[in-house]
Subunit: 172 residues, 2 copies
């Protein structure tokens, strides 16, 4: 059974919605999508470093469309691990685990990994929205999940997927 | 640079001290060391499942003798990751990270991994007190750290180390 490492932020959890909404709540100004394209999250949202530290940022993130049903199917066909860079923001650890338990109850605690660097992860397939994770991955198949920060870059050796339905096409 | 995956509980953190002390605090009876030899933690300490869920269990665990100085040296010669099975007890995540920050400040958040199963970990060397982790490890070198639960078993293909000074002999 092949092993998949699935990222959380920007793949399962729609953190951009959180950034857009919290920025608007605090400043009264809603950024336009084109303002954030091609910039890393904290370049696009100058208040982002403060927002990710606030209570509920990760706990209240919306679930990415179709991710629940498709991940549940993947979970029967692959050895699925949810691998999230979380230790940079220690408060996020408990929120991220609670969020997974709430929205993906079929994922057990044994399948969760909260780390800093993902270089130590050993799997066959990685789904992630950041090149820094995919580029160092030692497995065979890398899916780049489209997010505004990576939208202007060529996917290179990675397979670009825009939606969870695209992931289903690749892996189901 | 070779990569080492270092376990926390029973390797860096002296959780047995916690089990002995909390059992005594709650029951008035201090178990003798020979009562717990050869039994897994929760077989040896019937109140253990309740104690690991209590506030401070992981935060207040004593540091294993010599581990700070020797891990600091290893950290200059190897790519060190602290890999701890933590997601079974969600409250432990924050305590474990705070404990590492307090006692091992030279370990950055990038070097921390809190997971369930360690099967997904990719490294050259693993230091752990549990066969279930060492037996599935895909790297070359496995050090079995002596703890009461593994004291009666042959180490097999793993190298048994009784102390951090023994680790230093093997790896420095």
């Amino acid at each position: 059974m092949k092993r998949i490492a699935v990222d959380m932020d920007g793949v399962l959890a729609d953190v951009y919605s959180q950034f857009f909404n919290l920025h608007e709540q605090q400043t009264g100004y809603r950024k336009a999508p084109e303002e954030v394209v091609g910039k890393l999250e904290f370049e696009a949202f100058e208040l982002g470093p403060q927002h990710v530290l606030s209570d509920g940022f990760f706990l209240n993130a919306p679930v990415m469309q179709d991710s629940q049903a498709i991940l549940q199917k993947l979970n029967t066909l692959y050895e699925v691990y949810i691998v999230s860079a979380a230790t940079e923001f220690p408060k996020s650890l408990a929120e991220k685990q609670a969020w997974l338990n709430q929205h993906f109850p079929f994922i057990s605690w044994k399948q969760m990994v909260f780390c800093g660097s993902k270089n130590i992860i050993h799997a066959d397939i990685m789904i992630d929205d950041h090149f820094k994770n995919l580029d160092h991955f030692t497995g065979k198949t890398t899916l780049l999940f489209s997010q505004p920060h990576n939208a202007l870059q060529e996917s290179g050796r990675h397979i670009r997927v825009d939606t969870w339905k695209d992931i289903a096409v690749q892996l189901l």
